[in-house]
Each structure stands twice: as C-alpha cells, then as structure tokens.
C-alpha cells in the first residue's frame, strides 16, 4: 500500500493555505491529522497531487471556553478533547464520544476538524455536532462564513464546504442537563454499527428539551427532531422512549455492509437510542 506521489505544502498561515487552494484548485486537498486521508491515498482511492498540511497554522489550534460558548480550532485532536478539563465540564458528551473513536494512537493524530469536514458517514463527530447544534466556521477567498452543522452534510463525502474553503473551527453552546453518547461497534477501531448522541434537560419530572442525532445510519449524520420532540414534556418513560425510537427510525436510512443487514441496523439503532436516552435522563 504505497501512495502516489504528490507535492507537499506546509503553509504557516491560513492565508497561505487558501492561496495554495486557489492556485491548485481540484488538485489540492488540505490535511489535518491525516488518519482518514492517508489510508485512502495508500489504497490509491484518493488522488492528491498537492497536499496541504495544516499543522503549522497555529490559529487552527486551541480550545476556548467563552462563557457559555465553546470554540474548538479545527486542528484540536481527539486526545486533546479527552484531556481538556474545562471542556469535560462544559460539554462532557464530547469527551464521552471522543473516547469511543478509533484507538489511542489515532486519537493523538485525529482532529475534530478532519473528523467533521471530510463527510465520512462513519465518523462520530458529525452526528454529535448535529446534536450539539454546532456551527462550523469556513474561510475561503471571499471571507469567513458560518454554516450550521445541521446544514453542512449533503451526501457521503459531500458537504457545504466548497473546494476553496477551509473549515477552521467549530463552536457550540455549553451543554446543560443529561447527556450520552452510545455506540455499538464490532471492536475498538471500528466505525459504529449504530451510534446515538442525546442531550436532555429536565424541568421537574419532565423533559424540557431534547436533541438527538444518529451516526452511520444514513449517508449523512441524522439529526432527528421528531425523536427529540417525542421526549419533550414526558418523563422519558418507556412509552416516550418507544415513541422517540419510532420517530428516529423514520429518519434513518441505513445500508447493508459487513456490520449487518438493514433490519438489524434499524433494530440496533433503536436499542442504542433507548440506552442513550435512559443514560442521559439518569444524568439530568
């Protein structure tokens, strides 16, 4: 498994990186940690004549917690997410999800930006970003724009990011209430058979708000508003959970692969969601 040759660029500013994208057009791709792109290049399933490594751009790093708003630079690694105490306090679901991604070595290199930007339906962070209602900051030749995570994914590997743009940061509000990231996989290092991200708040004995997203059950991450609505105003009891499962089931569209046939994936998605809701509710 040997990649085809390419020219390597390591710009130290965002402007230079954007300039390289302008110059080389479709022949160029940006790379963060490389743990999605490099295997594809080694299998010669991705051809990248100009590789733009973003590691030297310091502006893409760092986690900032500004009151109730969290901002993660695109180059923040999964390992940094896990180790960051402030983040674990402000949005603990992020750490819970990051721990279920790949393995320790991959988490040292893999970044949140790479995970959300490449549009791989198997990645965990895109679903979680739906759940969190995150905004992605995109910088291109025409300036900076913000795109809601929930509007970002169009199809497998197809996103709202244009070829000349770079995803520089993600931001989302700090979470309150209960949370859970539940994932079934065949083994460490595998993509999800099904995964569910759940955020809940409680007011008295009932659920005041909910957000639910599912991973690897469609060619894009699935934010299921209907599933969340099924919980609001309920005590997240069995009936409510079943309603949420049914609503979620209507929103997903899994395909068959080595992890199993469609009927199995639908069944597991329901079980995983039910577990995630129960756990999140128990944490409210």
């Amino acid at each position: 498994m040997i990649p085809a040759a390419f020219d390597y660029h390591r710009p130290d500013s965002l402007q230079d990186a954007l300039g390289l994208l302008q110059t080389h057009g479709e022949d160029a791709r940006v790379m963060a940690g490389g743990h999605s792109l490099i295997p594809m290049m080694k299998l010669r399933m991705a051809e990248v004549p100009h590789l733009i490594d973003l590691q030297a751009i310091t502006g893409l790093r760092g986690i900032t917690i500004d009151g109730a708003t969290l901002r993660l630079g695109a180059m923040v690694t999964q390992h940094e997410i896990i180790e960051h105490a402030g983040l674990s306090c402000a949005a603990p679901i992020l750490r819970e999800a990051a721990l279920q991604i790949a393995d320790p070595q991959v988490r040292y290199m893999g970044t949140i930006g790479g995970n959300v930007a490449n549009g791989d339906p198997g990645n965990d962070m895109p679903g979680l970003m739906q759940c969190l209602g995150a905004e992605f900051t995109l910088v291109g030749p025409d300036g900076t724009r913000s795109v809601a995570a929930r509007a970002f994914y169009e199809a497998a590997y197809m996103t709202a990011r244009t070829d000349d743009e770079i995803l520089t940061a993600i931001s989302f509000p700090a979470t309150t209430g209960g949370y859970a990231y539940e994932k079934q996989k065949r083994k460490i290092g595998d993509y999800a058979t099904a995964a569910a991200a759940v955020l809940l708040t409680r007011k008295g004995g009932t659920c005041a708000s909910a957000s639910i997203a599912m991973t690897n059950l469609s060619d894009v991450p699935v934010w299921s508003e209907a599933a969340a609505q099924a919980l609001v105003g309920t005590a997240c009891d069995d009936t409510a959970i079943k309603a949420a499962m049914a609503a979620m089931d209507a929103d997903i569209d899994p395909g068959e692969d080595n992890r199993g046939p469609v009927a199995f994936k639908r069944h597991v998605a329901g079980v995983i969601l039910s577990r995630a809701i129960s756990r999140a509710w128990s944490r409210t």
Binding site: A5, F6, Y8, K42, P104, G189
Partner: protein, 164 residues
C-alpha cells in the same frame, strides 16, 4: 515520482538530515533509510500498531504519517528507549511475564506502553487494556502483556516514590 525534499528529524536523540519524497511513509524512512528496524509493518491501515513510535510525546502509527508531516519532529523508537546494559523496566517486565511470543508486535507494544504510563502512571487493568487497544497481538491473547504493563507500572511507581 515527486521532487525530493530535505527532511530533518531527531531520531532517538540523533539529528538526521535526509532527502526523501514527501509521500514516503515515516515507517519506511525509519526502516529503509535509517536502518531502524525495530518498528514493524503489520497492516498498513493504522489498525495493528506494530509500527508505533513516539513522535513529539505522542504515540503514533508511523505507517500513517508521511515523512513530510514528520519533518522537524522528534521521534523515539524501541531502539531509543534503552541500552543493552540498562534495559527499560517495561522491557524486563515483558520478558518476566511472558508478554511476547513471536516478537513482531513487541517493539510497538513496548513503545506504546511507555507513553501510556507517561500519561497514566497508575492504570487499572481496564485502563491498560483500553490504552493498549491500538496494538494488535496474534500470539499472546494480551493477558500477559497486560500483566507486564501493570507490573512495570507498579515497579516504576515504587521507584518514583523511593526517589522522592
């Protein structure tokens, strides 16, 4: 073939300057250009961890790092952790507890275990299993690897306490 570029690495404490194609994988540069053959190639898709080295304080799978990416980095391989006269605690522990058989995964295992114990000096068994999950072994069934890492952690902790 693309243009070769000048690469500077610090490998096991020694500065290395070389010309390489940017696409060359770090594992190939270590093994073929620098004759550092401790790290091995097992799967080439970043699943098995046989190629694990430490790069700037992080355990990485060197089959999934382009040498161009590593340019400027400091790298430690199994060859850099000890001398034959003074082995690392983990090396002794792996032998003492039969934590290896064919030896192919061992350099990656030990290199990873060193970083794991840096990050978490007193891990539980569960934490060791989770922290070593990026390294596959086909021979041992892991039980004695886990035992080796836990024994080394205990020994290293005791040594630290004695030193304090």
């Amino acid at each position: 073939m693309s243009k070769k570029m000048q690469i500077t690495l610090t490998v096991n404490g020694e500065a290395q300057d070389l010309l390489a194609e940017p696409r060359e994988l770090l594992i190939h540069v270590l093994r073929e250009r620098l004759n550092i053959t401790g790290p091995h190639i097992g799967c080439e898709t970043s699943h098995c961890g046989a190629c694990t080295v430490t790069m700037d304080g992080k355990s990485v799978k060197s089959c999934t790092v382009f040498v161009a990416q590593a340019n400027g980095a400091s790298i430690t391989t199994i060859e850099g952790i000890s001398t034959p006269d003074s082995l690392h605690v983990l090396q002794n522990a792996f032998r003492e507890h039969h934590g290896l058989q064919c030896g192919f995964c061992t350099p990656g295992m030990i290199t990873r275990a060193i970083q794991l114990l840096e990050d978490n000096p007193n891990p539980t068994e569960e934490e060791v299993r989770f922290g070593m999950a990026g390294n596959l072994c086909r021979c041992t069934g892991y039980q004695n690897i886990v035992k080796s890492v836990l024994a080394a952690a205990t020994e290293m902790s005791a040594a630290r306490e004695a030193a304090e």
